[in-house]
């Protein structure tokens, strides 16, 4: 714990830096919302999480290095906020079929939207660290290396998480066998919390905000 305390001298930010920060932060909000919704499933809670992350990012802006990826930096903050809330059980069993139906039928396109709600439900049954890995790489378009940086783990770990997530989704969707409300199952929930312990014990929380 005490080792975390070493303080780096932070360069003073100019007014132009601050304006640039604000602009980049604004631009990245839609991506934060998309990532958050993938993580926690419920749009209202996802947006709460994003607001929390925005405030934290704003408060920590001196630690952002201009020229680096704002999206990656804020995703770390969002992720930490999610993990914290998850440990407080805020998102337990929160998947809401009706809400999902409403968000998922509206957008995007010509093809069958029905698969999207199945996909979303299947996604939410994955252990959180596999889900986020898949979201970052498969939806957010991050490289394995970038995703590893965001999650504070090795590239190989991300590859394996994405691989397992893909395999699980493929099998669930091909068999049409998507577990119902997996988060309500006490055993599943305990497993998730154990995994979160591991995640939190790693360097995952070290990066952006404390």
């Amino acid at each position: 714990m005490s080792k975390d305390k070493k303080k780096r001298e932070l360069p003073k930010r100019s007014a132009a830096d601050k304006r640039a920060f604000k602009r980049e932060l604004t631009e990245v909000v839609p991506h934060l919302r998309a990532f958050a919704r993938g993580l926690c499933g419920r749009p209202d809670m996802a947006d709460d999480l994003v607001q929390e992350a925005l405030l934290k990012a704003w408060a920590a802006q001196d630690r952002f290095e201009p020229g680096t990826s704002m999206r990656a930096w804020t995703f770390v903050i969002l992720r930490n906020a999610y993990l914290t809330d998850m440990r407080r059980n805020r998102f337990r069993g929160e998947y809401d079929e009706g809400v999902a139906e409403r968000i998922l039928t509206a957008p995007a396109g010509q093809e069958e939207p029905l698969h999207l709600s199945d996909l979303h439900r299947a996604l939410l049954t994955l252990p959180p660290e596999r889900r986020e890995a898949l979201l970052l790489v498969g939806a957010g378009g991050f490289s394995y290396e970038e995703a590893a940086n965001i999650c504070g783990c090795a590239v190989g770990t991300i590859k394996s998480r994405v691989g397992r997530a893909r395999a699980a989704l493929s099998s669930m969707l091909e068999d049409g066998d998507i577990p119902d409300r997996a988060l309500d199952d006490p055993a599943a929930h305990r497993a998730i919390l154990e995994e979160l312990d591991e995640v939190a014990a790693g360097r995952g929380e070290a990066a952006a905000t404390k």
Binding site: K22, P30, R33, L54, I103, P107, A108, L119, A139
Partner: protein, 68 residues
């Protein structure tokens, strides 16, 4: 006996092959399952949503605090 066994195995394998071969109409890569584009679509559909007012309010409030 051995022959019967082989026959049984080969016929079951055939059946498996048939079952495992879906309607493979388009040139889908094996690494790219059907749902992969759906995942991107889910994400992009949120990215493309208009930003709720609550976010605009929050963002403009950040600037006000900055003035102090």
């Amino acid at each position: 006996m051995a022959t019967g066994n082989t026959e049984f195995m080969s016929s079951s394998r055939d059946e498996k092959n048939k079952a495992a071969k879906p309607q493979d109409g388009s040139g889908c890569k094996p690494q790219d399952p059907e749902w992969a584009s759906g995942l991107k679509k889910l994400y992009d559909s949120v990215v493309d949503e208009p930003l709720p007012d609550s976010f605009k309010d929050l963002l403009s409030k950040l600037d006000e605090d900055e003035g102090k």
